[in-house]
Structure formats: C-alpha cells, structure tokens
Amino acid sequence: MTSFVTAPALRISRLEDRYPSGGYEEDWTVQQFCGDWITTNGGSKGIAKAKIDFLDAKLIVHAFGAPASAPIDWGPVVAGIFTDGPNSSRIRAFHAFYDFGFMESYLQAKTEKAVLVVASFNRFKDQSGRANYFSREFFHRIA
C-alpha cells in the first residue's frame, strides 16, 4: 500500500514564493500600452508624459515633451504594433514616428513589469548643428 505525506501549508512572504509559482503575469495584449503614462524622472528633459489608446484597431500614441510644467503637445500618431515572434500573437512592442519639421523622432517602446520603456532616436533636419541623439526613458501608468 502506498502512503502519501501531505506537506504542511507553505509560508510565503509574497505571492511569488508560492509553488507552483504565482505572482505577476505579463500582459501580452495591446492593453499593456493603453493609459496615461508619466515619466518616472521628475526632472526629465525628454518626454514628460504620453496618452495611449487603442481605437478602431489602431494604437494611438499622443506624447508630450518636457518640461512637465508646460508640456509640449506632440499630437497623436498611429503606432505600428509588433509581436514577440513571427508565429506569435503576443504583443511585445510598438513603434511610433513623429515628424516635427525641424526634426524627426522614432519611438521604440515596450513594457516591462508594467513600466513603459521608450527609446527615442532623434534626428535634426534644421542644420542647427545639434547632434542627433538617443535617449531612453521610463514611464509609469497614472490612469
């Protein structure tokens, strides 16, 4: 006859201590991007905030440049959506493009643990002598 030993209830300090593991699950839908996002850096000189919506099957990104006290409205643009693999339906990133006339910005964005990570590739077209520049910023959702 086989006997079984029942393990006592395991004590945990957080949900991820559970076995099988529990805890945070990544959102692989387009909803991971939707909402109002604000920079985690209060002194940011880059993107102050962004509003992202999914409307009519399009991801609409509406960004605002710093300063946060008087944000510069970049207006809404439609972003391209990318999965995490050619045979996957899991949404991994978006790519948005802004043409300001005097400069262009490509925004490459993804979420990690509910933080929006945006890398921007910024190219000047105005012959001002400014160097094209790269920046990477983090945002948390406020709504």
Partner: protein, 141 residues
C-alpha cells in the same frame, strides 16, 4: 539664426555647440557577437567606417552557416545628447525582399543593444515582430 525649435527641453543645448559637429563613431565600430550563442536571431554584426560613411553588415543565425544579410549604410548615427560628439546609437534599414527590418542599436555598458522591427511583406501570415538582443565586442576584428 533665430531661436532653436524644440520638441522637448533636451533639444536645447546647455552650452554653445562645438563646431564643427563631427561625431566620433569609434564606440560603435567593430565586430559584435551575440551574447546568446544559441540564439535564433542575429548572430553577429560588423560595423565599419569607410570613406563615404559607416556601414553595418549583419549575419542571421542559420544552419549549417550564418545567413548573410549584406552590408547597408547606417541611416543615422546618434549621440547621447545634442551637444555630444560621441556616437552611442544608430539606425539602419534592411530590405530583404520578403521582409523589411529596421535596426535600432545603442551601446550601453560595453554592450551593443540591437532592436529589430521586423515587417513581413510576403503574405506568409507571419506576425510582424520585435526583437532585442545583446552583443559583445569581439576583441580581434
């Protein structure tokens, strides 16, 4: 020249810009090998400087041999800010006929972080996808 236009505060230089604004691209140059030797993505890239600009040559993972993507010019090279003269990022475009790949790379802590935005054009039903991989510089080029 009038006041500089800006989309955000960091578009405005903190001090007068150096003239001429020539970027030092040496931080980008070299042979970069994927930190994940068994990855299914890009195995290796070579970034070089030639008389008429900088180029990237990418090699996709493959068996029995790597898949050569060919050499393409770096479309734009980026510094860390508007007043910097040191390159730290770039983008490049590959048209592989059946798909387009926009590469966006940046150097960070001795690594090349390479993101690819992959768009299929062949009607195969494959999803357009995003990849992000890390590369270490091979010392002996």
């Amino acid at each position: 020249m009038g006041p500089l236009k800006s989309s955000r505060t960091e578009d405005c230089p903190d001090s007068p810009l150096p003239q001429p604004a020539q970027l030092d691209i040496r931080p980008l140059l070299g042979t970069w090998v994927n930190t994940n030797a068994s990855g299914w993505g890009i195995a290796k890239v070579i970034i070089s400087e030639e008389k008429n600009g900088a180029y990237i040559e990418a090699f996709g993972s493959g068996s029995p041999a790597l898949i050569e993507w060919g050499k393409r010019p770096l479309s734009t090279i980026y510094a860390k800010d508007v007043g910097s003269s040191t390159a730290m990022a770039f983008d490049a475009q590959y048209d592989l006929e059946f798909m387009d790949v926009r590469m966006e790379g940046n150097c960070n802590l001795g690594l090349l972080v390479l993101a690819c935005l992959n768009v299929f054009k062949d009607g195969s039903g494959r999803s357009n996808y995003f990849s992000r991989e890390f590369f270490g510089r091979k010392e002996t080029v």
